[in-house]
């Protein structure tokens, strides 16, 4: 376990109350590069267990990018690169042991005697391949653009579950129904579960993807503007679900809807031009922002 308390990170500085033991996921001093373009500059994000953390900020400020770092989906693209640390339950998930782990261990043991480096840190880095899949199973993500798989509505949800568990038909039916109900989609699709997911409307597809993300029950669920194409009633139902899910999951949600953040988020971070300008309990951030930029944004003066 890495001791988070004694490293005085900027995150600690801007947090109002620091019960660090509750952190499930934390980004520390993360820089991110799309090739040569830097999109994130020293971003810190503490994510508390069983809480909803919202990210707000003007378009293009790096909210999606930050989410993509948290479950390392960016690693699919060779040109993209993150620097810093992302710690999930005490494990640094940003760095991986490429090959020859025994050699690395030897070297780090030698290094330790010379420089006093922490050998445990080496042990805790991720291994390539299956570990990356395991990380993404623990930190699930629903993307900004809806992306149903080319299969039926039912299978879209069952597919993710089948990767992890063998379920009977009845159990799977129940999982699918629960997930669809939670995503406020059940009533619309219950009669056509076996028609293609790609045949749904944009907003329905978005909810299908949320249902798919919920069904696999990740520890942390990253949602990138899950309500951007939804009507007010579906949005309200989805928000209800997220608040209810808090009991079992941890949620990080990107939203352009400030009221939505204010309604459901326990903590909110305001980002601007690739930096985390302010982070804290939602009420504080909206009612007593410390930064002028935050105040301008939450009062609607820009962005």
């Amino acid at each position: 376990m890495i001791d988070l308390a004694d490293t005085a990170t900027p995150a600690a500085a801007i947090m109002n109350e620091p019960p660090y033991d509750e952190l499930v996921l934390e980004a520390r001093n993360v820089d991110f590069f799309y090739g040569k373009n830097q999109a994130l500059f020293g971003v810190d994000l503490p994510v508390r267990r069983n809480a909803i953390t919202a990210l707000i900020g003007p378009s293009g400020c790096g909210k999606s990018t930050l989410l993509r770092v948290l479950n390392r989906i960016y690693a699919l693209y060779p040109g993209q690169r993150a620097v810093g640390r992302v710690v999930l339950d005490g494990e640094d998930v940003l760095h991986e042991q490429r090959r020859l782990p025994w050699l690395r261990k030897r070297v780090s043991m030698v290094m330790e005697t010379q420089t006093g480096a922490d050998p445990i840190e080496e042990e805790q880095v991720l291994r390539v391949g299956t570990d990356l899949a395991r990380l993404r199973a623990r930190v699930g993500m629903v993307f900004q653009k809806p992306t149903p798989f080319p299969m039926s509505i039912y299978d879209n949800i069952a597919f993710g579950v089948r990767i992890y568990h063998r379920k009977s038909k009845a159990e799977m039916d129940e999982i699918v129904e629960t997930a669809l109900r939670r995503a406020a989609l059940w009533d619309e699709v219950k009669d056509k579960l076996h028609s293609p997911g790609l045949g749904l409307s944009g907003g329905q597809q978005q909810r299908l993807c949320v249902a798919r993300g919920i069904a696999v029950e990740p520890e942390v669920l990253l949602l990138d503007e899950p309500a951007s194409a939804l009507d007010p009633i579906s949005t309200a139902k989805l928000e209800e679900t997220l608040v209810e899910l808090k009991k079992d999951f941890t949620v990080v949600i990107v939203t352009h809807n400030l009221q939505q953040a204010a309604r459901i988020a326990d903590y909110t971070g305001f980002m601007f031009l690739g930096r985390m300008i302010e982070f804290g309990p939602t009420n504080d951030l909206f009612l007593q922002p410390k930064s002028d930029k935050t105040r301008d944004y939450v009062t609607g003066r820009f962005g």
Binding site: I73, G129, A133, G140, K145, F149, F159
Partner: protein, 332 residues
């Protein structure tokens, strides 16, 4: 096919500005006068294509008619092809064509999928491009080169290291002995199939790679985002995503294999009759035509060869039509 000529009556761009009153409100688009001409140019291009296709079928039918009427159904069912006695049956060549093509397809498809998936999903960008270009270049090699390579290099090696050991070790009287019977010179049905598969492999791999690249990155991300391993992403999401296109690739590969002439003619052994083992010499429709057309003297012989052409045309056409049918019946 008639999608081409739907333009002549089904859809006429209605020039509303000619109604008079709207013309004063909005000036006509500057290039509008060219529109009808453009439409007719496209129509005549389409008509030209259909006309030449029709002409081809008709002349094949007329040319092949003497043989077809002379032999009747036995032209398709008899395996006797004897220019000396002037008796012609196409069953052997039809079987040779279908067997070599399907075996080639079965051999090439898994490898082509492997190549394409590796290039798109796993290979580091820096070397993926050069390899992809190499694959495309391979696809462009003229088939006669494959044929020569097959005859001079592949066939002798195949005879020595595959055919001979198999024949030697087959127990007398066993099924294996029957299966492996033949002249051990490497010119047979199986080696023709292998050469064919090598030939269609780069072509199929190149098209499959293009197909894989059309999968939106978001779909891939979403699958990885659920915690899928690369294998699961490829088999469960990416391949289903392109399965329509895959059927197309299969059919294109098959179409190419069915009609391939030179590469096959070199290595199939050119023996008439139904191939009775995997190492039997054989012939295909295309190889028979290529081999005999210059020396066909009798009218009936020439007519029989043209009829083979007609049969090949019909088989290829059926394969493509089946592909269309399968594509349109896909649910997703």
């Amino acid at each position: 096919m008639n999608a081409f000529n739907s333009g002549d009556e089904g859809f006429t761009p209605s020039p509303r500005s000619s109604a008079g009153d709207t013309a004063s409100l909005r000036p006509p688009v500057r290039g509008a006068w060219f529109d009808p001409i453009f439409e007719y140019l496209c129509l005549s291009a389409a008509t030209l294509l259909l006309a030449s296709l029709g002409g081809l079928v008709i002349s094949l039918a007329i040319g092949g008619w003497p043989a077809l009427s002379h032999f009747g159904w036995s032209f398709f069912t008899s395996t006797t092809w004897n220019p000396v006695t002037d008796v012609y049956g196409a069953a052997g060549a039809i079987a040779g064509t279908l067997i070599t093509s399907f075996v080639a397809l079965a051999l090439a498809l898994p490898v082509a999928i492997g190549i394409a998936v590796y290039l798109v999903e796993f290979c580091p960008r820096a070397i993926a491009r050069p390899i992809a270009i190499a694959v495309e270049l391979l696809a462009g090699i003229p088939s006669i080169v494959y044929g020569m390579w097959g005859l001079f290099i592949f066939a002798p090696l195949f005879a020595e290291y595959v055919q001979m050991p198999l024949m030697m070790n087959a127990a007398p009287g066993s099924l294996a002995e029957k299966l492996f019977a033949g002249i051990p010179n490497g010119a047979n049905i199986l080696s023709a199939s292998i050469i064919l598969s090598i030939m269609i492999l780069p072509y199929m791999a190149a098209v499959l790679r293009e197909l894989l690249m059309t999968v939106p990155p978001q779909v891939r991300e979403a699958a990885y985002g659920l915690g899928c391993t690369p294998f699961e992403v490829v088999t469960s999401v990416i391949v289903p995503y392109i399965k329509r296109g895959m059927i197309g690739v299969v059919m294109l590969g098959l179409g190419r294999a069915l009609g391939e002439t030179m590469a096959v003619t070199f290595v199939i052994g050119n023996a008439h009759g139904f191939p009775d083992s995997i190492f039997a010499s054989g012939a295909t429709l295309a190889s028979t035509i290529a081999n005999e057309f210059t020396e066909a003297t009798g009218d009936l012989h020439t007519s029989a060869l043209i009829a083979l052409g007609l049969v090949l045309f019909i088989i290829t056409f059926t394969v493509l039509a089946l592909a269309r049918l399968l594509l349109s019946s896909q649910k997703y």
